[in-house]
């Protein structure tokens, strides 16, 4: 890549904030890159991007739900509304990968067809890369970069098991898209298998009765205050195909964002990051490692109290653990 600013983290950070597509693409590649040299560059870059951590920008939205519920199509419809409102949007679309070959078909883009003339939309696909069923490690750092360059960052992922838990802990606003006629979503939510989303959507409202029935079932099961407090979970009907309810959904997302803005949002973002670091360490060192660092709760608290440089925090903790292990072995 022949980026003039590729080697200067400050310039690169400025380019990202200015929405320079080539710079953003370049940094996403770097964040994906596990080699030490790439890690060094991104650590320096994140330091620049995260300077104003008390005034976080952008809204990070997670959209989950069963495969085929229409998440990608709905995202495309939302993007059109957001663009009409003058908001810049980045998408991280997470698709599963094959456990055998590691290969993956990144298919969400196809449903998100956006205009090639429009520099205000950026879509990056990511495979889940078999990481303990959860979201891949790159999701949080990539979100941080996208938040610097866009007003809205949307993470699409199939909502099952660990991935759904992850997304709920990483996003400002989570939106669950249910498939009309599938009782599963209702059962999961009732049984507490799913985290409670901030917004519940029954898509494919154009399917008529089936959608209406699912809507009323979910309303009955879920019309309640979100455990976050102060937020009444709306249950909305949309059709990504005929456009029904998309504006309303965009309004609800905006309303939730307004509620979060200010000091609370800064705290939440620190919490996501702490959670992300905790999860990475857990994967690498197991619960033994977490215990060494004082246990989950204390670790999370410590992390949230510190400054926010993602990779610095993470690398420091890894180093501590390595040293600890070394000591134990000696």
């Amino acid at each position: 890549m022949s980026l003039p600013h590729a080697d200067d983290p400050a310039e690169l950070a400025a380019a990202i904030a200015a929405g320079d597509r080539a710079a953003i693409a370049h940094v996403l590649n770097l964040l994906d890159d596990r080699r030490d040299e790439a890690r060094k560059k991104t650590t320096a870059l994140l330091a620049h991007l995260q300077q104003d951590q008390d005034n976080p920008t952008g809204q990070l939205i997670g959209i989950t739900g069963p495969p085929g519920a229409g998440k990608s199509t709905l995202s495309a419809a939302l993007i059109r509304v957001w663009r009409a409102r003058g908001l810049r949007v980045a998408v991280l679309a997470v698709d599963p990968s094959s456990p055998i070959s590691g290969g993956a078909l990144l298919g969400d883009r196809l449903r998100m067809q956006t205009s090639t003339e429009d520099d205000g939309v950026f879509v990056r696909s990511l495979s889940s890369r078999g990481q303990f069923g959860g979201l891949s490690a790159e999701v949080w750092p990539m979100s941080v970069v996208m938040l610097a360059g866009f007003d809205i960052v949307l993470i699409e992922t199939v909502g099952v098991g660990q991935r759904e838990v992850d997304i709920a802990r990483l996003c400002d606003t989570t939106c669950y898209v249910a498939q009309p006629g599938s009782g599963d979503s209702v059962q999961f939510i009732k049984a507490g298998v799913l985290e409670v989303p901030h917004i519940l959507v029954v898509n494919k409202a154009d399917m008529g009765n089936l959608a209406t029935r699912t809507l009323s079932e979910l309303e009955a099961a879920l019309k309640r205050t979100h455990p976050d407090g102060h937020w009444q979970v709306p249950v909305l009907a949309t059709s990504a195909v005929d456009g029904t309810g998309i504006e309303t959904l965009a309004d609800a997302l905006e309303e939730h964002y307004q509620l979060l803005r200010g000091p609370q949002l800064a705290l939440r973002r620190k919490r996501y990051q702490a959670y992300w670091i905790h999860k990475r360490l857990l994967e690498e060192f197991g619960s033994f490692g977490i215990d060494q660092l004082g246990g989950e709760e204390s670790l999370l608290a410590q992390l949230q109290a510190q400054d926010m440089n993602l990779f610095k925090q993470y690398d420091a903790l890894r180093l501590r653990l390595y040293n600890r292990i070394q000591d134990t072995l000696e």
Binding site: M1, S2, L3, R21, A22, A25, L28, N29, D32, D33, R34, R35, A38, G68, S97, S98, I100, S101, G102, G103, A104, L105, L106, G107, R109, L110, R111, Q113, T116, F122, V123, R124, S125, S127, R129
Partner: protein
């Protein structure tokens, strides 16, 4: 028995699918073909005409007059049939998304020849469902497309009674990998979806429904397993008879007859030892002629050089002569049905019917054929079948002479020397067509054009039959692009599922594949992240088989694959490559516009600052073009002779390694 007393059946219609460069050049070709004994016309349109763009639209660049004739307006249509009396001609038009429009132009051109449109005979293919599944020239979403299809049907049943308003196609499904059972099931499911829609439109009174059913014809395929294919055609006839009688209550047996035309299989025609294709074509032709009770009404054959490029007049003449020899020299047409009473045939027919019924039930479970377009069920099944076929070729279970066995060959005089052995379309054709289009636009009465388009928009919106307004547009001098643009605005556009999200097929863990997987993984580790491949189909080309199969194989080899389906612009491809951070861009182009498209993509990539991603291409690319492309920086060119997909995967890894400064061979 003396010659005179033998009663021979009348041979089928013999056609040659053709058209190129311009209406004028194609007209000359048609008149030559007719003088050589061809008995009907089969018009190939170029891709812009098929996808509703005028010749001067940016998306038409490189495609004008290439794989067929460009028809922009009534002047082109008149020129196409100059001195060919439409009142006596039987014309088949391979046209789908824009079928109502091309029929409107045909009607208006007939009027100008002084022919009463009610006398016209011929066929509009007008089967848009298979476009989403295989052929690729769809424009609008499935529902409005089905409405246009049924509008054309109801209009002709009323006004052009001898017209075949739709040719339900299973031909293209086999070309996309369908098995005989799938061909039966999906064609018949399509036919019921269309007939149900005609019924639901309320445009045909119940007592005339038999007339509609009687006008439905089919366009099928015949592959090299010619015994099974014969059985498939007998199965088709029987299933159609039952279906039309039971589902639609058609009592007139004549209206229940399975009428079909054929193009024999081309997917199995090979680039290596292309002379062998002649045997293949002849055997395939047998399967649709052998059984008198299931004999084709019309046949068109591909040429020996099918996998090399477009056929020249001589190549097409050779294909026509194959039909003539069978019909005129052999005794085939002197007998009744040769297969009636054979237990072996009967058992096979029954097996196919049972299998097709099961598959039709699965289509119904998925909401019927129209829903299956959007939910991707049928497309996935087709990709799966095609993948299975390729895996069997890889493993040697399926033998293809000259491809995976008996590969050694003396040099062929057919392809030796300077002659490339294919038709080259005149480079000037595109520019001349654009000039004549612009002159035509300048000469028309704009107020008439505007009024006709307004009327068209009104009809599109209010649901009334689209044909009368389209014919009015044709008379007023509206162009193909203008007609389509109005409907694009009313109906919107559509992007069909790619069907590649299938589970791995067959010899998933062969040694060759394991070897590739190791290299993909290792290279990914060396580069810090998993290897990513963007597969791009630029331009109007709808040939998706190659791209799909590379995508599936790539996934199975461990690549992360970005593939968004057909008909992307160069700018879309360049952007996707950047946003997705891919290691390699692989284009697939079979329509012949590779030179222009590669140029455009290189330019777009430069424009957005993507200069370090290597580019490769596959498709129908003549040797001299391959060299020119490599000069322009394309890292590798693949053609049908590169039948081993594992080898292709290995080459891709090597190219990525080289581009990133790694030891290539490792």
């Amino acid at each position: 028995m003396s010659q005179e007393t033998v009663k021979r059946d009348r041979p089928w219609l013999m056609r040659t699918y053709s058209g190129h460069s311009s209406a004028k050049a194609s007209n000359a070709l048609y008149r030559t073909n007719l003088s050589r004994g061809q008995t009907g016309l089969s018009v190939a349109f170029d891709l812009p005409t098929q996808t509703g763009y005028d010749s001067d639209h940016p998306l038409a660049r490189g495609e004008v007059g290439k794989v067929g004739v460009p028809i922009n307006h009534i002047g082109d249509m008149e020129a196409l049939f100059h001195d060919i009396p439409l009142g006596q001609m039987n014309t088949s038009m391979t046209i789908n998304a824009t079928a109502p429009w091309l029929l409107a132009l045909y009607v208006a051109a007939a009027e100008r020849q002084g022919v009463d449109p009610a006398q016209l005979q011929g066929t509009t293919q007008n089967d848009v469902l298979k476009e989403y599944l295989s052929r690729g020239t769809y424009i609008f979403p499935p529902e409005p497309s089905v409405r246009l299809t049924t509008d054309l049907i109801t209009y002709t049943v009323e006004n052009i009674p001898k017209w075949n308003p739709t040719n339900i196609c299973s031909y293209h499904l086999q070309e996309a990998g369908a098995t005989p059972t799938q061909e039966l099931a999906y064609a018949l499911s399509t036919a019921t979806a269309i007939l149900d829609a005609v019924k639901a439109s309320g445009q045909v009174p119940d007592d005339r429904f038999g007339d509609v059913v009687g006008r439905i014809s089919f366009f099928v395929n015949a592959g090299i397993r010619f015994v099974e294919e014969t059985c498939k055609l007998r199965a088709f006839g029987r299933m159609w008879d039952t279906l039309t009688s039971e589902r639609y209550g058609v009592t007139n047996a004549k209206q229940r007859r399975f009428r079909y035309g054929v193009q024999v299989n081309s997917l199995g025609l090979t680039e290596p030892q292309p002379e062998n294709n002649v045997q293949r074509i002849v055997l395939e032709m047998l399967s649709v002629t052998l059984s008198k009770n299931a004999r084709a009404r019309a046949i068109q054959l591909p040429a020996w050089n099918e996998a090399l490029g477009l056929p020249r007049p001589w190549d097409q003449q050779w294909a026509l002569r194959m039909q003539q020899v069978l019909a005129l020299e052999t005794d085939l047409l002197e007998y009744g049905d040769l297969l009636d009473g054979s237990h072996v045939i009967e058992a096979k027919v029954q097996e196919l019917i049972d299998g097709a019924h099961e598959e039709m039930a699965r289509v119904d479970e998925h909401g019927g054929m129209v829903s299956c377009i959007d939910n991707g069920y049928v497309k996935r099944e087709l990709v799966q079948s095609h993948t299975r076929r390729l895996r069997n070729i890889e493993s040697g279970e399926l033998q293809i002479v000259g491809v995976n066995c008996y590969k050694e060959s003396a040099e062929s005089p057919l392809t030796a020397g300077d002659e490339s052995g294919i038709m080259k379309v005149d480079e000037r054709a595109e520019r001349e067509q654009i000039e004549s289009l612009q002159a035509f636009r300048a000469s028309r009465d704009d107020s008439k054009v505007k009024a006709a388009l307004q009327q068209l928009r009104a009809c599109a919106n209010d649901g009334s039959n689209i044909m009368p307004a389209s014919i009015e547009c044709a008379r007023a001098g509206v162009t193909t692009g203008e007609w389509s643009e109005v409907l694009r605005e009313v109906f919107g556009e559509f992007r069909a599922p790619t069907g590649i999200d299938i589970s791995p097929v067959g010899n998933g863990g062969s040694d060759a594949l394991e070897g590739v997987r190791r290299r993909v993984k290792k290279t990914g580790e060396e580069l810090g992240r998993p290897l990513r491949l963007l597969i791009g189909k630029p331009g109007l080309d709808g040939h998706s088989n190659g791209a799909e199969q590379i995508a599936v194989k790539g996934r199975d080899a461990g690549f992360e694959i970005v593939y968004e389906g057909i008909r992307l612009t160069p700018a879309q491809i360049a952007r996707a490559a950047q946003e997705e951070g891919v290691h390699l861009i692989g284009l697939s182009v079979l329509s012949g516009s590779h030179m222009e498209l590669v140029q455009d993509i290189n330019r777009e990539m430069e424009k957005i600052g993507v200069t370090d991603i290597p580019l490769i291409i596959g498709g129908i690319i003549p040797d001299e073009d391959a060299l020119a492309l490599q000069d322009q920086g394309v890292k590798a060119v693949f053609t049908p002779k590169d039948a081993d997909l594992n080898t292709i995967m290995n080459t891709m890894v090597t190219i990525i390694r080289e581009a990133n400064g790694l030891e290539p061979a490792a």
